[in-house]
Amino acid sequence: MDGSVLSSYDPGAFWCEMLRCPANQPVRERLASLSVQELRERAAAAEAELYNFGITFTVYSEKDAIDRILPFDVIPRLIPAAEWAQIERGVIQRITAINLLLHDLYHDQHILRDGTLPRDLVLGNPNYRPLMQGVDLPHRSYVHVAGTDLVRDEHGTLLVLEDNVRTPSGVSYVVENRHMMLRAFPDLLDELGLRPVENYGLQLAAALREVAPRGIDAPATVLLSPGTYNSAFFEHVFLAREMGVPLVEGRDLLVEDERVWMRTTGGLAPVDVIYRRINDDFLDPAAFHRESMLGVPGLMRAYRAGRVTLANAVGTGVADDKAVYAYMPRIIRYYLGEEPVLANVPTQICREPEALRYTLDHLAELVVKPVGEAGGYGITVGPRASAAELEACRAKLLADPANYISQPCIGLSVAPTLVEDGVAPRHVDLRPFAITGAKTWVLPGGLTRVALRPGSLIVNSSQGGGSKDTWVFK
C-alpha cells in the first residue's frame, strides 16, 4: 500500500529541513494529503516538461549526451522568515567584506602589510591579477553576482562552505523550479505567502546600470557567453531574456579606441556593460590566454581605461580561493569590525605544517579539497574513501600540501526527497545569490541542491546532484 508523502519518511539522526521547524506545519499537512503515487505522477509530468523546454545543462564527461536535465525534486525545501533574515544579513556582510578585501588587495594592500592575510597566499595565487592593480571600479564593486554555499550541520547550525564570486551559476534553476512548482503543484503553494523569486533579472539589470562607466546614464548592456556548447548556456539564455539584453559571444565584439563594440546588421554599436560568463583567463587573448577563441582582443585595455564595466570584475577569484576562505572570519572582523553572522566550517590550511600534520593524522575523518578546483572535482571524503583512495590522497597532500585544505566531515542536513522506493532523506545545501550594484540585494531563498545518491554528500550537478524549489516564508 502506498502511503502519503511523509508517512514512512525517517531522517534518522540527521537534521531534517522539513521536520525540525514548526513553521513548516502547514506544508507538512498539505503533503500528508498527497499520496506518493500522485506525487510521482506529477513529478514525471514536470520532468517531461523540463525536457521539452530544453532546460538542460551539458555534461562534458559523457560525450554523446550533450543535454541533460538537472534532476528536479518536487518536495520543496523550506526556510522560515527569521532564519532567512539571518542568512540574508550574513550573506550581505560577507559580500561587503569581500568587496572591501578586493579593493584593498588591488590598491594599498593594508591587509597584507598588517600580516592579517599571508602575502604569498594572495600574490602567489593564480587568480590574483596584477593587471587590476590601481584600477578604480564604480562603487568599488567587484563582486556583482555572488553565490554563497551554505550547509547545516547535525546541530542545526548554518555554516558557509564556500564563496563563489567569479561566475557562479544556478540562479536560472531557482526561477525555473518555482515556475514549474506553480504549474505542477498550485495546490501546495496556494496562499502560503512565499517570497517571490522572479524579479532576479530586473534586479541584476538595475545593479549593472548602477555600475556602468562614469557618465553613461543608459548603458548598453550585454551578456557574454562562451556559446551554445557551454554547460550553462541555458542559464545564459535565461538571464539575457530576463534582463532584455543581447546574448553575445566573443566573436560578436571588438575593441577600437579603447571602446567595446558589437557587430550588428546596421554596423558597429557601442557596448558599456558586459555581464560576462567567461573566466578571466579567456576574456582577452591579448592579456591572458593567447589561444583563447572565446574572448575579445583588447578588452582589458578598454576595461582598465574605465570605458567598459565587466561583471564580475577581473581578479575576484583570489577572494573565493579555498585557502583564503579559511581567513574569511578574520577578514570580516578586519574590514567591518563585526563578528561573522554566518560561521565558517573549521578549516585546516595544509600549507601550514601544523595543519598538514593534523590532516594527515586524521585523514579518515576529514574531507580533503584541492583549492583550485570547482564543481566538486578532486574531493576525497575520508569516511567514505577506500584504503587505496586514502593513500592516493596522502600522496597528493605530501607532494603539494599548499594545494589542499581539509575540513571535518559534516553530517549535512537532509530533506525528504522522492526516490525510487518512496520518500527518503537526502543531503542538501543552499546557494543564495547576491547581486551588488551600489549596494547588495539577496534573492530570497536560492538554489537548494540535493545529493540524489543515498548517503552522498556531493550535491554538484556535474556529480549526480539535483535541485529543489526553495521556499522562503514572508
Binding site: T228, A240, P246, R251, R263, T265, A269
Partner: protein, 329 residues
Amino acid sequence: MSETLLARYADCVFWLARYVERVENLARILDVNETFSRDSRGSQNWLSIVQLFSDEKTFSARHAEASAENVLHFYVRDTDNPSSIVSGIAQARENARTLRPLISTEMWVQLNMFHNRLGALGADELSPGRRNRFFGSVKEACQTHTGITEGTLHRDQVWYFYQIGRYVERADQTTRLLDMKYHLLLPRPRDVGSPIDVSQWNALLRSAAGYHAYRRLHSGGITPAQVAGFLLLNRRFPRSVYLCIRQTEMLLAEMKARYALRGGNDAAEVLDGLRALFSTLSITEILKQGLHEFLDLVQLRLIAVSRHLSIAFFGYQPEDTLEQLQQTQ
C-alpha cells in the same frame, strides 16, 4: 537596443527559416515520390530523388542500391547526411537554441519537441503503409512552426530576416521540384499526355500543394507548359517562384528603410533583375530557351542573393568562399 540586431542572430534566423522550409519541401517530395518514381513501365525509380539533390556520390558511398528503404533512410533518418530531415531539424534547432533570447518559448519548445520526436523515430514508421502518415506529421510540424512564428515572433528585424530566409528557400525548392520533372523524368515524346505523364504532373502539383489552385485556374486539363508556368510565374500561388522573389524583394526594401540599414543593395539589385526577368518572360519563351537552363540560372541568382545578404548583414567577408558561409550547404 531593441532597434539593433546582432549580425550573428540575423544569420541564425535566416537559416532557421530556411531549414524548416527545406524540411517541409523534402517531406512533400518524399511523400509524393511513390507516384513520381514510376516510369512508363510502372516500376519504381527512387534514384531520381537522389539525382534531384545531386547526392549521387554521398548516397552511393553508403548504399549499393537506390531502393525505397535506402533512399528513405538516407533522406529521413541519416544523421550523417546533412540534407536529411533529421539533420535539417537538428540544424534548425541549433539555430533556434542560439536565438532563444529572441524567439518565443513556444517556438523553441515546439522545435525542441519536433527534434526529440524525430530522434525517437520508430523502426517501422517508414514502412510502406505508414510513410504517408509520417510525412504528413513532418509537414504539419513544419507548418505548426510557421504558425507559432506568425503568432509570436516580434515584428522587428528578426522577423524580416526570418521571412526573407523562408521565401528564398521556397523559391529555390520550387525550382528544384520543377527541374526534377523536366530534367530527370523527361518524358519521351510518345509518353506526353499518357496516363503516366499526367499522373506525374499531378504529383508535382500536389507536392507543392498547388493541385487545387491549378485546377481552379486551368479547368481544361493538365499540360506541362501550364503546370510549369503556374509554379514559376503565377502571382498569387504562395509557392510560385515569382511570388517568392517578389516577397523577398519587398521585405528587403521595407526592412532597409524601416531600420535605416545601409547594406543589402547588392542583394536588392539581383532580386530586381530576377523580378524583371520573371515579369517579361512568358512560359513559352522559357521553354523555348530550355527550362533546365532557366532554372539553373534562377538557382545561381538565389545563391548570389544569399551570399550578398551574408556579407551585408551577417558579418561574412567578401572573400569568404561558399563553404565558409557557415551554413550554406
